[in-house]
């Protein structure tokens, strides 16, 4: 079965943050929560590159391994989701995640965190498909509609690829082949010499 993945082609990402805005607006993500973020290295210098990061829907997700109430789970298609009715906001997933993805709403009394929020791959949540509860707690369910996640759909340079891991890997390989290899590829001297 297909396993859903994100892949950001850093040779194409231009740090426009369109993916971040699309995700926030399309899913009604509250202020202070960022399901997706863009990180730039060497900003304003030679070798500047940007990458769009959200939940990577890891095959062997560490967040699932540490969740004390099994609120996190993985669907058959590899998408990792959180059940907000069960989550206790302990924050273990934030520490276990290699990408610092889990987000917690702040501002309650005595700094008490709310339940965890993260990228759903635009696949909604455990609530019934297209229900009001699903929309309110998790956002859109574009996967059930047969669409790619909002961030990838909105990416103007198509740097952000989303879908079956094998297929997007093939697309990326084709791009790399077209861009050239060996002495003509950017960074050849750094990577291979």
């Amino acid at each position: 079965m297909a396993r859903m993945k994100f892949l950001c082609d850093i040779e194409r990402c231009i740090d426009c943050k369109g993916c971040v805005i699309a995700c926030k607006e399309g899913n009604g993500v509250p202020v202070g929560i960022n399901r997706r973020r863009v990180i730039t290295i060497n900003q304003g210098k030679p070798g500047e590159r940007s990458i769009s990061i959200a939940c990577m829907h890891c095959s062997d997700a560490p967040c699932i391994a540490v969740c004390p109430v099994s609120a996190l789970y993985q669907r058959d298609d590899g998408i990792v989701l959180v059940n907000k009715d069960v989550c206790i906001g302990c924050g273990y997933c934030f520490i276990a995640c290699p990408f610092g993805v889990p987000q917690f709403p702040k501002g309650d009394t005595f700094g008490k965190r709310g339940v965890m929020d993260k990228c759903t791959f635009c696949a909604g949540g455990p609530a019934p498909n297209f229900s009001e509860k699903e929309r309110r707690l998790y956002g859109q369910n574009r996967i059930a509609e047969g669409k790619v996640p909002l961030c990838a759909a909105m990416c103007s340079t198509k740097a952000l690829l989303a879908g079956d891991g094998d297929k997007i890997a093939r697309i990326f390989q084709e791009r790399v082949a077209r861009r050239g290899t060996g002495a003509k590829a950017p960074g050849w001297s750094t990577a291979y010499k």
């Binding site: 560490p62 099994s70 009715d85 001297s189």
Partner: protein, 290 residues
């Protein structure tokens, strides 16, 4: 003559081509040199920004979190079981409630103690609820317990600070504390033999230091963990300290409950009235009357 002119034109063209090509190649190399960074290198640099120490702490943290619940269960079940055996085999210590009454705790001290007791008990109960959240089904019940845990931690610290200062002078170790330890505090038999202890015995002193200093450490580590504002590796360390120290606190909390509610008859009344009867003081706090 015609041939040499023709050759000159050809030579000039060749020279132009070589120079132009060379310049273009040089410019391209120059540009590549300035902007070149391999994808592999870029991903390495992103890794440093996103999760610099993940590989160093994550595996250890994951196995710790999954195993810590198994450490608490023997304490929560085992310690009361040991005291149940003690209660059945040895039984509680009773003293005659007549003769002189000796003042032990002032009104303000008792007020502080009971406020600390209420908040501390709620912290322990709510903490255990968070630890065993899965058995409770998680969700809003445990979220509320987390809220109680945080609120009561602040409450405990407010009342613990003055109580710590009031009791501090009587809580330093004394040479006779070793003798108290060797005779099991006099709790291993029902005989009313004088045990070497001042206003507070070694067990009470241990509880004092663990509850107040340990409580302060628990408060600080809990505060950091609740904020999630430090790097993940550091927060993982704070969680470990919080959960391991909590294990000892829970064990001694149960011990304190047993001693005050069951092991010594009338000790609960002492903490309400502020007085102990002479016989109890002569046996359990013998150094006070010397």
């Amino acid at each position: 003559m015609k041939t040499s002119r023709w050759m000159e034109v050809v030579n000039l063209c060749l020279l132009f081509c070589f120079l132009g090509g060379g310049l273009a190649y040089g410019a391209e190399m120059l540009l590549r040199g300035f902007g070149a960074i391999s994808t592999v290198q870029a991903f390495k640099e992103f890794g440093v920004v996103v999760s610099p120490h993940w590989q160093a702490y994550a595996e250890d943290f994951i196995s710790f979190v999954n195993g810590v619940g198994r450490l608490y269960l023997p304490v929560i079940v085992g310690v009361p079981l040991v005291f149940l055996i003690h209660f059945v085999a040895v039984g509680p210590k009773g003293f005659e409630h007549k003769g002189r009454r000796i003042s032990f705790y002032g009104l303000f001290t008792r007020f502080l103690h009971w406020m600390c007791a209420i908040f501390f008990s709620l912290v322990v109960v709510s903490g255990i609820m968070v630890l065993f959240a899965k058995a409770l089904g998680g969700g809003s019940l445990v979220l509320s317990a987390r809220g109680v845990h945080l609120f009561c931690a602040y409450g405990f610290m407010v009342f613990a600070a003055p109580l710590f200062l009031i009791w501090l002078k009587d809580m330093f170790p004394a040479p006779y504390d070793i003798k108290w330890l060797l005779c099991g505090g006099g709790y291993l038999s029902k005989k009313k033999v004088e045990v070497p202890a001042g206003k507070f015995n070694l067990g009470q002193k241990m509880w004092f230091w663990l509850a107040f200093v340990g409580g302060a450490v628990m408060f600080y580590t809990g505060y950091v963990v609740s904020g999630l504002s430090l790097p993940q590796a550091q927060i993982a360390g704070y969680i470990k300290i919080h959960l391991i120290l909590g294990l000892f606190l829970v064990a001694l909390f149960i011990t304190h409950l047993y001693m005050s509610l069951f092991a010594v008859k009338g000790s609960l009344k002492s903490m309400i009235s502020g007085y102990k009867w002479e016989e109890e003081v002569r046996v359990l706090h013998s150094r006070m009357l010397k």
